[in-house]
Symmetry: C2
Subunit: 320 residues, 2 copies
């Protein structure tokens, strides 16, 4: 059986998930993709202690050991944030590496350029994990549903804001109180702006729209409203009217005009998106043949996001 | 641009959907798969009148014009039922044709043999449309989610029984009364046994289990109970307890033992499958990395099922 060597950039939450999946499902993965996937190197920015031996043995602090390493076939970028992840991906592509990334910031801002670069070099650039973790919506849009002219993509794509709105709905609590609790429990970051002001969702809808409509829009083209202004009173008014608030990211294509938005909306209790609670994500797809479809699942976390990353790695490994 | 020629076996509901999609989305399909898909021949068992000219021009009553036609690359089997569809597929594969089918009867009963035959001949056999119409769950199981060890697949996979249970729940009506109304409206067939006694769902769970666990089970290995015995009283009792009845098909893998069942179950109102109403289908997937995922959409109908058929055709066309 052939061996495909990969190098990881970063090994935080998602990276640990990838390492764990490749270990616990090793035989099954080898059998399904006809290749043993081996982690050759793991790049870290900083020296740190108490890493497990498997990770420590492969650790490097020189990015060139991964992106320019002739024995590595696939570079798996899990460093997060725009810089220097963008530069890492560019260098990897320039060196003829296939790239798998979970990085929504880089893809939303540089997706068009990076896809062109990958095509020109004859390598694959895959990023299923950049939107909605384990939910395989990207591959559905580009492969299974490719017979469709899409008309609308909409969904709950940010776990933090959905957790906050769900908690406000179930407990009747205030926004800032719920945010503080979410931060204490690890469901919201110390800097929660990107999640609660809708920017994270805006990046994801840019990526989904690119897959569905073939056009990369920019962040300032997304009409974005967050959830800060949703009060306990708005939530209970909605409830009385048989509705719940959800932060909905949407891309609509009407006669070649593509409109992108992120905003809190009131949905009736029996709407399929209304039962998507806590940190779950869900994406609705509407096409002129398939009708309405929904994909629902875990949008974040080590193993769910790792599932999408390893799925992409396996697809490339099969073809190598 | 290359041209890929296909031949249809049958042109009923799903066939008309395929013809319509290939026509309305022709440019987009050609662009996405790098090939023009042309319908060369359409096989019919019986002479009939009043077909549209496009279909009439391609009609043949000799099966060999499709399955043994040297100019046809892909045979698209949409005849339905076990025989003679099974024999048509075998002959097509033996003649080196790629095959796309929407036929759950043939795949549930002969899937193992036909997959081996296709592999041995080096051709593709694809059947996304055989389970849950437009919902791309098969490709998700075998590609996007292939990093997972699956533990359970469960779902609402039969539209007719779901329509009946939904109507009984909303209207408080009796089973046979609702069935008669469903037949009048075209949501149930004149011979409804296969749908209401769970056999249709049993066939679909066999196919899903084969994709998830790599093992083809037989019909008598599926513990099957239908919905005939569900009375208006059972429905209202469930309602009072905050539950709804759904016909659930399930495949569970526990320590290498795979158990398949189809049975009506009571689900709490806030279960994601509880809001899957009318003729909609939904499939839950549980894996050791992805966690719980749900796919929801139209499980039948000309265009939704056609969407899955054309998706498979495009994947083969890309690779030819």
């Amino acid at each position: 059986m052939k061996t495909v060597k990969i190098g990881l950039l970063g090994c935080g939450t998602v990276g640990s998930g990838v390492v764990e999946i490749l270990r616990m499902n090793a035989d099954l993965i080898a059998e399904r993709c006809g290749a043993r996937i081996e982690i050759e190197k793991i790049f870290f920015k900083n020296h740190r202690k108490h890493r497990e031996p498997f990770v420590e043995d492969r650790a490097t602090y020189d990015i060139r050991d991964v992106v320019m390493n002739p024995s590595i076939d696939i570079v798996v970028e899990l460093a997060g944030k725009e810089h220097p992840a963008y530069e890492f991906i560019v260098t990897a592509l320039q060196n003829g590496k296939h790239v798998v990334t979970a990085n929504k910031d880089v893809m939303a801002l540089h997706g068009c350029e990076l896809e062109t670069m990958a095509r020109d070099r004859g390598v694959r650039l895959m990023y299923e994990a950049s939107v909605c973790g384990a939910i395989p919506v990207m591959k559905a849009l580009t492969e299974s549903l490719s017979a469709n002219k899409f008309t609308k993509i909409s969904g709950i794509v940010n776990g933090t804001s959905n957790y906050i709105l769900s908690k406000m709905t179930s407990d009747g609590a205030d926004f800032y109180e719920t945010l503080a609790e979410a931060q204490r429990l690890g469901f919201a970051e110390a800097d929660p702006e990107s999640d609660i002001d809708g920017l994270d969702a805006a990046r994801k809808i840019i990526i989904l729209a690119a897959k569905a409509f073939g056009v990369w829009k920019t962040l300032d083209e997304v009409q974005t409203t967050g959830i800060r202004h949703i009060s306990a009173a708005s939530i209970s008014d909605a409830k009385a009217a048989g509705c719940v608030y959800k932060l909905i990211a949407q891309a609509e294509c009407d006669d070649r005009v593509i409109n992108l938005s992120v905003e809190p909306r009131r949905l009736p209790f029996d709407h399929p998106l209304a039962v998507v609670n806590d940190t779950f994500n869900a994406v609705f797809v509407e096409g002129n043949a398939c009708g309405s479809l929904m994909f629902y699942g875990r949008g974040a976390g080590a193993l769910p996001t790792g599932s999408a990353v390893v799925g992409d790695i396996m697809e490339i490994a099969k073809a190598i």
